[in-house]
Amino acid sequence: MIEPQATSQDISVGCGQVLEQGEIEFYQAILPPLVAGLYRLVTEQVVTLKVDEKKYDLTTPFQVDGPRFRLQPNDVQQVYPPANLTGQYEESLPHVVFRLPTLPWSRTIDGSAASGDIVTTPWLALLTLYPEELVSGIQQMTLNDLLSPADSNVLGPIIDKTQFSAAELAQALLAIDIPSAVFNGVTPSIDDLPFLAHSRQVNTDGKEILGLVADGYFSVVIGNRLPKTGAQNSALVVSLEGQQTRIRGNTPPPVNAFVRVAVLASWNFTAAAARGDFIEILRAIPDAGGVELLHMPHDDFTGTLTTAETTAQEALDTGYVPLLNNTRAGEETTSWYRSPGVPEATSLDPFGPYAVSDMAIRYDPGPMDSVTPGSGLFNATYACAWQIGRLLALSDSAFARMLYRWRVDLHRNDDQNQLVADLAERLPSLARMQSPVGEPIRRLDAAPFAFIDFWLNAGRLLEQADLPRVVRHEHRSDARLPGVLAPDALRAVAESDDPLTELLQRLFNVTEVTP
């Protein structure tokens, strides 16, 4: 019988030195050497003289910059679910792949300094918002608008504004105002965030060359919310920098307040209505319709079976179905029919080919030994198959025409074969014919030698041959036929001194012959 086997959910994870094509290596994080921020490079030089030593120092301020409130369009390698598509995403968590392998750890969520190799909490999050939660759309504004919103109900990120120059504060960015309750409800908690970002190395052999990241390191941020089915969902990559006290797990801000967050990337997708799970549906099949061989289901035959019951059981289990049909005489009867798909392997029967379908009707598929009475039913299976084949052929006029041409070719070929076979029978010496070099003639380009041999022996052969005297009328004068001379040429031959020699000369002289 057939049994469903377990599900496979394997993925190719690389963990060796060399990544195979299609393998992925996962990293908890790829940390930047320095997180973004303001730094001071302090150099100190001590010059020791004979009498005293002098200290020189130099402080060079510098800034490690990195994406903060906006991204370049090509920083995003891929988003899932694909933008503006409708699909079955009800059990998928959206994610975004960045080409910058260090992006989620390039700054800290609270602006603090990162120390050493400690993996910081990612400052990026991927929010999934349902349509009813989007009160206002994504707006373009300046950095100043983001940090100090005009409306006191709108809470911007808590970031020290003094670090920005006036020019920086005037730069445009995208932001969205999210109702504070929604923000507090759908954002990942501070404990969730570390699990939602990772880096990966992908063998890029099977992909296009990606320019800067041809080595195939990417960072990935995963959403924490399943999409709403049957609705358009918005996926927003937002900066949580300065928002750490408002995300889920904190006391919600006032109910009528809005949280203003910088949107680094966003896209929409539609999750189609729920349809269930692929594997679950397939796993449910054995209990629903069943996994079986194709046959007509029937109740159990119980007790001691009569011969008829045995026959019926055997027929049903081997795929036969009793169906009503009309005989040619019009009588209604029940006959066995079996689909081309049968429950067990078949072997070729010795019957056929059949010229008409009635020849394929079998009587009684029951036990074949003469002691057992048959079921008394016809088996119309193969007659049906024959008829379907014929109907398919007749319904396709191009095929019917091809068949007709093929038939004509078959007949013509038969005629020709017959003629040659007759002649060959009468010319036994032909089999000994050889080329002048003594080799048996095998190839067509050796034909001229055969012609010469023929020429030398023609007279003798002709006298020995007892050839048919009757020539089909249409063959007499058709100059296109092989070896046929035009009527006037033929007349010249007949009037010559040696008609046979003349004829053969004309025939095998290149110009006159139409092979």
Binding site: M1, I2, T7, D10, I11, V13, C15, I24, F26, P82, L93, A181, S189, F195, A197, H198, I222, L226, K228, F278, I279, E280, I285, G289, G290, L293, P297, S339, P340, V342, P343, T346, L348, P353, A355, Y382, W386, R390, F399, M402, L403, W406, R407, D409, L410, D414, N417, L419, L430, M433, P440, R442, F454, L467, V471, P482, V484, L490, L500, L507
Partner: protein, 297 residues
């Protein structure tokens, strides 16, 4: 000598010379030279042998044979295909002479068409024909799947393999109706895999009556290969966050559950590390794959 016989002899000469040039074998001279079966006829019959055009009622004569949500495996009745081909070529039979000429060709036609049938699917897809294999050409099997997965997952992928794991050629894959999938396989498969259309590797959860969960994958420790699902399947629940906003998952809680389940299996590293990368491996939702194993009765 009269003219007519001479003319006739000349024709016969030509034929003889032509034939003798090919081979001087006396038997070959007498043997008939079979005419090639037109390729267009072979191609048409090859499609017919894959049951293209056969009404569904003749494939499944009774609705009870294919109830909703069912999988039915079958062998193809070789005699049925022979009769089908005989019926088809019979359309060219108009006389007893035709019958002899054409029906004597049936064996050749059937084997040519069966050879061709292997290439029908690859031709439809514009791909190279599969390599010839030693499976007898008429030995094919197949299955019918009537399920909502057929309509829900349009790019559903099928693969079949024999007992030694070699992939078998799929002769035909067709949706006969929105929910009925018909597939013909060359040879007798030991395993049939139905695969969700592979899209981007993505993250997600499985959903069943008990809520959301994920099936654990090995991490390369404790004898569990990295990325390979731990068998028998172990799942860890992914708790949703209770509150006004549906669909939000408690990621930290899920991570804790996953870590505990993996630890119980001994599949964690000796240090017990469980970070975002281990979490990502667990949460990847690979294309679902369900195998069916047809076994002999």
């Amino acid at each position: 000598m009269s003219r007519a016989p001479m003319h006739r002899r000349a024709i016969s000469f030509w034929n003889l010379v032509e034939r003798s040039a090919k081979s001087l074998d006396a038997e070959a001279l007498a043997a008939t030279d079979p005419i090639e079966i037109p390729p267009a006829i072979v191609a048409w019959l090859a499609r017919a042998m894959l049951l293209y055009g056969v009404p569904f009622e003749y494939l499944v004569p009774h609705p009870a044979m294919l109830p909703q949500e069912s999988f039915r495996f079958f062998h193809i009745d070789q005699n049925w295909l022979l009769r089908l081909v005989e019926g088809a070529v019979s359309a060219g039979v108009g006389s007893s002479r035709d019958a002899i000429a054409i029906l004597s060709q049936v064996d050749a036609v059937v084997s040519a068409a069966a050879d061709k049938a292997v290439a029908v699917r690859s031709e439809l897809r514009g791909k190279a024909a599969p390599q010839a294999d030693p499976i007898p050409t008429l030995t094919s099997t197949g299955f019918l799947l009537r399920s909502t997965v057929v309509s829900g997952w349009v790019g559903l992928e099928i693969s079949a393999s024999d007992a030694s794991g070699n992939p078998l050629t799929l002769l035909r894959i067709d949706r006969l109706s929105p929910t009925v999938l018909f597939c013909l396989i060359r040879g007798v498969p030991a395993k049939i895999d139905l695969m969700e259309p592979p899209e981007t590797l993505h993250f997600g959860v499985l959903h069943d009556s008990g809520g959301y969960n994920v099936a654990l994958r090995g991490l390369g420790f404790g004898g569990f290969d990295p990325g390979v699902q731990i068998m028998p399947a172990v799942t860890a629940p992914v708790p949703p966050v209770t509150g006004a906003f549906s669909g939000v998952l408690d990621i930290n809680g899920a991570a804790t559950n996953l870590k505990n389940e993996l630890q119980a299996k001994g599949a964690l590293s000796p240090q017990g590390t469980f970070t975002s990368c281990e979490f990502a491996i667990q949460m990847v939702r690979a294309a679902g794959l369900q195998s069916f194993e047809p076994k002999a009765n």
